[in-house]
Symmetry: C2
Subunit: 285 residues, 2 copies
């Protein structure tokens, strides 16, 4: 099942089910108005959304054209966005700002060139409820959706504030996520061991700059269990895999430094060449 959120006049947008080929979508306001509402009651809501998805594929379901540029980030705002990084082989998970994500085709506003801008494409998951102390097995079951993220950092500000003890609020502007989020079953055998085994295609100004392995980050089940060690995670939490130990070595492909006028895109294609999540494609201005 593939889900997207269309921009509308509301803060949380409008949930739609999207066809596997990303060309058609169906409104599902009668089932759940927003993706957060669906996640809040996933056990009851997701089977109903799956029936709509089935109808979209077999022609039984009324549909509209789906345009990736009409999509907001699947959760335009979320209760949690946490991003992993590696430290001495262990995951470290930091809290990011989740109150206002920008859309996958929205421009990145760089207020001051001196702030610098680093972008890192990544895979993330959206969880259901995770109990405190959850096992890795429970954590794996809590993975409801996967999506892509363009994680932004203002490297110029970061340098100063990082010295002062870590990731602060100012160097982290709003991130953008892929137009579409998908359930793990959409990924077939490319999804195993808590990782997505496909190349992450990153382009700068239309030219490919790297095929980072999307499975280079930590196993998501391990990350979620790690994050839930001391408190529960609420449905709709987004967890990013970050870079695995050693993955920083191919940094050119993972982290890009951008300036005004640059355009960055991030996408993952399946083994037949079709885009799975749609493309994040953002201009810096």
């Amino acid at each position: 099942m593939k889900l997207a959120t269309l921009k509308d006049s509301t803060r949380d947008g409008k949930l739609v089910v999207v066809s596997k080929d990303l060309t058609r979508c169906s409104e599902v306001g009668h089932i759940a108005r927003t993706l957060q509402a669906a996640l809040d009651d996933w056990e009851h809501v997701s089977p109903r959304l799956a029936l709509v998805a089935e109808g979209l594929e077999n022609g039984a379901q009324p549909y509209a054209r789906f345009h990736e540029h009409d999509a907001a980030s699947p959760l335009p705002r979320a209760y949690q966005w946490a991003l992993a990084s590696a430290h001495q082989g262990q995951p470290l998970i930091r809290q990011g700002a989740s109150d206002s994500f920008i859309g996958p085709r929205d421009a990145i506003a760089l207020a001051d060139p001196a702030h610098g801008l680093d972008v890192e494409g990544d895979v993330a998951v959206i969880t259901g409820d995770v109990a405190v102390g959850a096992s890795e097995e429970d954590a794996k079951d809590a993975i409801k959706l996967l999506l892509l993220v363009n994680d932004l950092s203002l490297s110029g500000l970061d340098a100063g504030e990082a010295d002062a003890g870590g990731l602060c609020i100012r160097p982290k502007p709003s991130s953008a996520f892929s137009p579409v989020a998908v359930t793990p079953d959409e990924l077939g055998d490319a999804w195993h061991g808590g990782k997505l085994h496909l190349p992450l295609l990153v382009s700068l100004n239309g030219k490919p700059v790297g095929k980072a392995d999307a499975s280079a980050g930590f196993d998501f089940a391990r990350l979620i269990a790690h994050a839930a060690k001391t408190r529960r995670l609420t449905a709709g939490s987004i967890i990013g895999s970050g870079a695995a130990p050693g993955a920083q070595a191919d940094g050119a492909a993972k982290t890009l430094s951008l300036k005004a006028g640059d355009r960055v895109s991030v996408e993952i294609r399946d083994r037949t060449g079709h885009s799975i999540f749609g493309a994040i494609d953002q201009l810096v201005n």
Copy 2:
């Protein structure tokens, strides 16, 4: 106006308007089901809530008894929780976990005594929407509500993860907020210069352990403008003032180290001795 969220079967609880003396409350589901819904449309909703508050004081409004122990944190989950601290006289604002707060009378579950537990009572504000680059004047206008917070840290875990570059997710379990959040006008002349000029009363196992000055932290207008320097803040963002430069000197009164069986309470009283926000009162187990 004083607002609270009563626990019910939903994730976000039920918004009520509370009388100034914290003894009575009125349901306002016909105006806004939840505090987040009220904040999402504050300009239209708050005048209607204010009429209910007026009716509660003059006897025109039907009411029920208000019991602080029935209250959840005013926002049981929020899109943002950011806490300031001081570094070389400048504010540093870090993102905290906001996906699941515990209630003001809920026990603090300490999974492992080796994790350690530090508690710091503090004042926080809930903002409306704040535009990127907002002035301090605009930031001041964006302060919709004030409340108290019990900010928890697992000092045993923190020591290890702090070395690795800052505030990570595991050392920060869910915080609790006061039973009631109040609009700035409820604070009279104790609210000026973006600070609340009253003592923060902290007790450990029923004994007062300090009267930290609630105005010791940074000016909230400055903090909000600082946080909004590189991105907008969405309505319902909670910002904590943290400790001001130098305030760490009276650390004993601000930060407490707790163990299982301890009970901590945090409250602020007005100049006539009445509790403004109700009391956070939590047992560690």
